[in-house]
Amino acid sequence: MSVPHALLALLTGGPKYGLRLQQEFESRTGEVWPLNVGQVYTTLQRLERDGLVESDDGEGERSRKRYRITSDGDRELADWLRTPPDLVPPPRDELVIKVLVALQVPGTDVHEILQVHRRHVIEIMQRYTQVKAAAGEDDVALALVADAELFRLEAIVRWLDAADVRLKQRPHLAPVEVAGMPLEPTQKTEVSQ
């Protein structure tokens, strides 16, 4: 999430104080992306330094300053909206590596490893869906934020499902099952953000 551009976007609606910007940012992202007020002021300072926003007076207390977007800020925002995000995946996905490594470890049931991660990802999805369910159908901004996370997580589940089927079709790749192996993650997997 680009906080500077989000703040520029909020300022297109007219001049605002830092605290108001923080509140609007959180309400528009469905409070899924919290932002502390210190981060807002630091970002505004940088935007002002770069000439993308300007404030009412130069020297006052930061909470009393009202910020407005400049014409350079408008151009920067318009360019950013049209610049494709970096969609090239990270060179090493931790989950893929874990599964590939699991295939090499004798006595490891890869299907059980896949299931541990599947359950963990679906539990995170349940939490995002709770956010959406609690907010009601009219909160479009929140639905868009939650959908973005849900689709990303769903892609991970689909990959786990596909891995399950592939390894079942080629059992010689999957090491033998070990009875009594606990179905608990040894450490929570950080699905790549």
Binding site: V32, I122, L183
Partner: protein, 240 residues
């Protein structure tokens, strides 16, 4: 007492070398007010579990209890009555009868059970009202969109206070937003005190459930624990 309880339920199709164990010693309890999703790959036994839970099929072994009543202990005609009165079904292809209007489809299980036309229609309209489709009551299925048809099918499943709602891939071919609307409705129905079981292979739809149960090769292999609540996501966001 659970609205639905499966105890060591098994199902075997065929015999000898062609024998297939569709379900193996499955235990599952679903409470009123709870929505449970069953996930698993093709052939894992999801749909078999649902048809056995709904008494549309007999298990090869084990017990199925609906509201504490062991289905094996009641006659076939009493089972049929139970299916009409206590259990609502939602199918992938909606299963609406084309020659009946929407409200006639909704009231069909009541009328089959001997409810007279007028009170049946009143109950049907009430269920349709809950799903926001009462204005479509007198239209025929082919005059409705896919989303509207599925709402009518859900109204039929919840008409007249059924305690158990069973749904097999209930979002069918709907797009993700309309599919989500269906899941909201099923969730709302369970929050009003119905026990719901949804079979799906889609993780997004399953995430609407209070609990997700995973099936593989006829076995329950795992289930989610109760979600800790959305505030935990905010804590995760702070680390970014």
């Amino acid at each position: 007492m659970s609205a639905l309880e499966l105890r060591q339920v098994s199902k075997i199709y065929g015999s000898g070398p062609t024998e297939v164990h569709a379900l193996v010693a499955v235990d599952l309890s679903v409470e009123r007010g709870e929505l449970v999703a069953i996930m698993g790959p093709s052939g894992s036994g999801k749909s078999t579990l649902l048809t056995i839970a709904g008494s549309l099929e007999q298990p090869s072994g084990g017990q199925v209890l609906v509201d504490g009543v062991d289905l094996a202990s009641v006659s076939r005609s009493d089972q049929a009555q139970m299916r009409r009165r206590s259990i609502g079904y939602v199918f992938q292809d909606f299963n609406l009868l084309p020659g009946l209007t929407a409200v006639e489809n909704v009231t069909l299980p009541l009328e089959l059970d001997g409810t007279r036309a007028r009170p049946a229609r009143a109950a049907g309209l009430e269920a349709m009202e809950e799903l926001d489709v009462s204005d479509l009551a007198d239209r025929y299925p082919d005059e409705l969109s896919g989303g509207e048809r599925q709402r009518v099918a859900i109204a039929r499943a919840i008409v007249s206070e059924r305690g158990l709602l069973l749904a097999d891939e209930p979002t069918g071919a709907l797009d993700s937003v309309n599919g989500e609307a269906v899941m909201r409705l099923l969730r709302a129905a369970t929050k009003r005190g119905v026990a719901g079981v949804v079979v799906t292979h889609e993780a997004q739809l399953a995430s609407w459930a209070d609990r997700v149960v995973f099936l593989r090769d006829g076995h329950v292999v795992d289930q989610t624990v109760a979600p800790p609540g959305p505030e935990s996501l905010l804590a995760a966001g702070d680390r970014r």
